[in-house]
Subunit: 275 residues, 6 copies
Amino acid sequence: MNARTKVMYLNPVGTSAYDEVFADMARKFKCPDTEVHIASLNPNSVAPEMNNLEYRAYESLIVADTVKAARQAALSGFDAMAIGCFYDPALLDAREISGDTAIVGPCQASITAALNVANNFSIIIGRTKWEDQMKQTVHEYGYGQKLASFEAVGLRVEEFHRNPAETRKQLELAAERAVEESKAESIILGCTLEVGFYAELQKFLHGRFSANVPVIDCSIAALKAAEGAAWQKRIGWTNSRVWGMEPPPESELERFGVFRGDYEFGNLIKVPTDG
Amino acid sequence: MNARTKVMYLNPVGTSAYDEVFADMARKFKCPDTEVHIASLNPNSVAPEMNNLEYRAYESLIVADTVKAARQAALSGFDAMAIGCFYDPALLDAREISGDTAIVGPCQASITAALNVANNFSIIIGRTKWEDQMKQTVHEYGYGQKLASFEAVGLRVEEFHRNPAETRKQLELAAERAVEESKAESIILGCTLEVGFYAELQKFLHGRFSANVPVIDCSIAALKAAEGAAWQKRIGWTNSRVWGMEPPPESELERFGVFRGDYEFGNLIKVPTDG
Amino acid sequence: MNARTKVMYLNPVGTSAYDEVFADMARKFKCPDTEVHIASLNPNSVAPEMNNLEYRAYESLIVADTVKAARQAALSGFDAMAIGCFYDPALLDAREISGDTAIVGPCQASITAALNVANNFSIIIGRTKWEDQMKQTVHEYGYGQKLASFEAVGLRVEEFHRNPAETRKQLELAAERAVEESKAESIILGCTLEVGFYAELQKFLHGRFSANVPVIDCSIAALKAAEGAAWQKRIGWTNSRVWGMEPPPESELERFGVFRGDYEFGNLIKVPTDG
Amino acid sequence: MNARTKVMYLNPVGTSAYDEVFADMARKFKCPDTEVHIASLNPNSVAPEMNNLEYRAYESLIVADTVKAARQAALSGFDAMAIGCFYDPALLDAREISGDTAIVGPCQASITAALNVANNFSIIIGRTKWEDQMKQTVHEYGYGQKLASFEAVGLRVEEFHRNPAETRKQLELAAERAVEESKAESIILGCTLEVGFYAELQKFLHGRFSANVPVIDCSIAALKAAEGAAWQKRIGWTNSRVWGMEPPPESELERFGVFRGDYEFGNLIKVPTDG
Amino acid sequence: MNARTKVMYLNPVGTSAYDEVFADMARKFKCPDTEVHIASLNPNSVAPEMNNLEYRAYESLIVADTVKAARQAALSGFDAMAIGCFYDPALLDAREISGDTAIVGPCQASITAALNVANNFSIIIGRTKWEDQMKQTVHEYGYGQKLASFEAVGLRVEEFHRNPAETRKQLELAAERAVEESKAESIILGCTLEVGFYAELQKFLHGRFSANVPVIDCSIAALKAAEGAAWQKRIGWTNSRVWGMEPPPESELERFGVFRGDYEFGNLIKVPTDG
Amino acid sequence: MNARTKVMYLNPVGTSAYDEVFADMARKFKCPDTEVHIASLNPNSVAPEMNNLEYRAYESLIVADTVKAARQAALSGFDAMAIGCFYDPALLDAREISGDTAIVGPCQASITAALNVANNFSIIIGRTKWEDQMKQTVHEYGYGQKLASFEAVGLRVEEFHRNPAETRKQLELAAERAVEESKAESIILGCTLEVGFYAELQKFLHGRFSANVPVIDCSIAALKAAEGAAWQKRIGWTNSRVWGMEPPPESELERFGVFRGDYEFGNLIKVPTDG
């Protein structure tokens, strides 16, 4: 089977500040035959200064554009799109109108990855603020029984990369606590901006517990899930379109004047296939 | 205790087509000391032709404005706001940023009302399309064990009032099926536009089963829940602001340039207090 | 809609020792148009010295009279009756035979109130003894996932008002623990005799956490739920009478010689409508 | 280990009409070394005409006496007591105050028995009226996932033995439906007065499905569970008395004047040990 | 009813090292009319040096023989067989092919016993390693809500009896922790080789908490459950053979050449009926 | 990232009758850089005539060899191994001792795939016999809420390919029923030998419902999951080795004389990388 794949990694904010970070991640972890587009939302419609989605109120501002982006990804022939935020915002909404393009999210992708190699997981988050909403999502997905704990490190999104040594220290403490006290068998980094820390943290835990404890980076997990979903598409397993997956009729979209025209992304970095 | 209450019933769409219907409902069912504002969203920012939220993609287009409306309701001194759609769209998002203004939704309000007078409930919906999302919500609220069934009548939102006799007939068949086959003890009308049918349907069921079967109209339930929440406010039980209920810092809203300025509603009908 | 409401607040014990406390509560928190009757059970049939229901064995002694009281409330034209004990004893039994009179309980009412303004709740109880039974009830209602914790303060029912300063101190410690360690977003006072402490405790928590944490008094919550249920009655949403809500046939009651004649309450304080 | 056992089978009503039926059952199914007392409640305190507990309101009238009976059983040195009604009324209340005497109920006993020989079960009940309450109990016990269905035969308690041939026919139809449509692997007869039908019904099902389908009689199951619990007592596994199992202090019982003196049963048939 | 019972207590390993321990237990706790065979697996097919089943990989090596043993027990006319390992290994597999012989396991038996005398339980295990798998089993059985905690004492199976005084100390600490911190109302010893400690531990807890806390020995519980299941057989309640309980056709077993011939046990101690 | 992958697809029976079928499947659906080994178990240790695992008793006979095969796969440097039976037999046991080799199963893989493109799923099985065990597994994985229904077609494993036209017809009827009556949004073929039917069935459903309904072939899903897991390994996310994932000590394996020496597979078809 042909392995040529085209996926979009959407950073669902109006700022392109982190796009390069995710492009690096993609370059390093994508399959050779995958072309990845790192995209962020249109700064004219989503506040370009808003650099985090830690609050539900912030998320509410990016839902419409994220869904429009999904439709655009479908029109542009992407096999799959990952919505790069651990809240998996607008995941099901986007999936409804994305045609044959698969939509995946870091939270679902990370848990699936973790449960391939462990019986349960803890999620390391920035602030306790995030916990209630994420717990709800974990339960909705059906993984409530596999959730060992949430561990907050007391950092906001933008702080993860401000002082990497300090962040590393906090992640180590949180992961140690999860394994020691909550009997976690794997760790999920519950923010796409915890990117860059997983390998060292896993190494630290190996030393600490004399045994492997996989540490899932949710951005990488989302990228790989998008590639996997692209494979599903090739097999023929595209989005269901019955019952809850039924999309709105095109004629009605026209009548309402919604989802018309191309969606313009704010920034776009194209990571080509290898060689 | 003073009973003076000011609540907003938000019709979360850009069209004001149904506002008068809800104003009539409010006039008939509100408490004497309650002032109700029926409001719809700004047609300049939400597609004014879009007259239903049956699809997740449509909902995605009203989330941002609904949250802005909630914040505006708080700034304008409303005690409570009901979001007039049975999906309870953006309920938790709105609640995060609504200050001391309580936010309620028809789905949660209807179930609470039903369980005061019955052990379980069936929800009559327009199309099976709606079922998966609503079922998810019912389970999230914790009421999965009390859900007897969903019953679809094969009507879209705008069709409920097109041929009332036919709608009545379909609601009767669906409710009868729910009670007879799924052992429902109460019926919830799962769309705010099923307004106007509950009393006759309850009467029909009484005749059919020789016993009372309460039929909850979700718009009325939402209005009464808003009044109840306004009472809570008077007692001092306003929105929690710790952990998952923590709102974004005002300084950050300013820095990001979001949620600034007044939100302008599309239409506004003021139903005054009695006498 | 007319707001004239007549509700009974039943203190389901044979002693009238606390009736005045609840009458004060009613005077302060009822709606202006509500008439509240504070009633306790017949001391000739329920041990008049028994001043608490902390044990299941004690509860068993008040079940029959509570159900009879509910039927009497219906015959006497009450819109709703609250059973004033956080175990919600005999709630469903009473509801079966209460005609069109709604029956509510402090536990269910408090949780509904808490979830209007928070995502979860902790319940402060007197002794750990109570926890297992109450937890069972919370789960039965469907709120297991929203329960942050129980916190016991080591006091028996009659001790809550013996040394108010000490009680206040213990409630503060328990509430602080709930918020801090169990991430509770709201607090429910899980005994009707914790009445009188909520406002100060909420103020304390505001100072402690620099943010609002609603503290639900379960007696007030029950009273307001009764008023809300009375509204439901006016709308037409009275007790279902099919399937599990079917009452025994009157002819059989006669044949068995049960539930005949008027039930005589032990004490009765009438709090009239305002003005 | 000595096998001498003394158990009480309580028919928790004020009428002794069915006591002989249960005595026959006990004679046939008890262990040789077991002495069984069939007892009913005091007709002076529980309406002696009331011959069923199909309604919650009826049950409310026997709760106090059932708990008193449990305490009396303990004082009289019974190893265990079965409360002979499939609702398992007052089970936990009785257990709280029954000292070292184990208390069991037909519902819990039947399910335990069924799951020893099958993966799931259906419960055949008289009327749909019973279903909601029993379902709640089954879920409380933790067996919600093992419940295949409830099947109602349209008979009241007193009708089961009125026309045995017709009852047999209805039980066959219900059991067949349970196995065929709900994939039940075992059948539980969900009323102690369905006594006398299990063996024939099991034979019928064997013929119908060419395979064994165990049919659990809940009275026999309760008796055997009582004998089993008596064994537990001999091993030393008596009622826990910490946390939720803590009984009220004897001094308080005295102060309140409750649970004093001997409880007088209404009727008592003594089935002696064999030989 | 005749009480003559023949049960097998299978120690599902290839070593007979512990058989005498279980024979002693049986002698002490069996019913007078019960004949118990303590058996271990065939050392020629199961590694005779492998003296524990702490790892899933070890269990995988005894599954086939355990199922063969169950079939053999049926052919040899045993009423019931207990599989003597707290993981309840191969329980459902064995039950499928054991004809009319009931199959029980220590985990299920212990929980059933515990819930007869308490509302919840904690399980004391050797190492945290065991917890995940056992927790899964507890949830599968439906008892997730009744599980207070697992408490590990840091001992491997073979270490429980190496230094009894130290083991006793560790069990006391663990049980105390369970009752004190997790509010356990009963204790289950979650390894058949914790045999011999329950009585003293229960006594210790009684002293420590001034109240009874039943301590369930899982080997004894399994034996008594086997006796109880034998009673069920006499009543006629043998294994269901429809749907999930359907056994493979004998003709197919023949065609495949599986489950042919007698299974030879490794060791067999016969504990006769009394007198 | 390099894409070179080596995975084993284990047909966990002693017969190689179907190996070629799975080799064809692998040739068609594997990634270009993947080398797949189709292997079956050693016919000398697993009954070579036994061509299905429809009964738990049959499964019990292949558990030990499947776990040994997993360990061998690890020793032979496979990145991942799929256990080719929809019961996911011995999945967790194999995973414990497979070193860094990931172990996946068709059931888990299929559900993950289905939920990427739909909100729920129905599983088409051969006989109702299979349902109880598979339902248990689905719930264990956390997907109970997403399970629309099981649909049995009345065929044994070996019959699926006997009369393809008839099988096709039965699958169509079952899938239609699932979508129509149980509101399934996707279909999972719940037996690896339903291989070869998915594409046509999906086409049929598209015609029947005028909309896409993905039909997941569980063998292909397992293969792709193995490839995905191999990617995880490359990223560093190998099996956790703490708590429940802790493997037995090598020294103990040696002492017990278990898992020593190479495991010899029964048959082995090597499907090389492309080009």
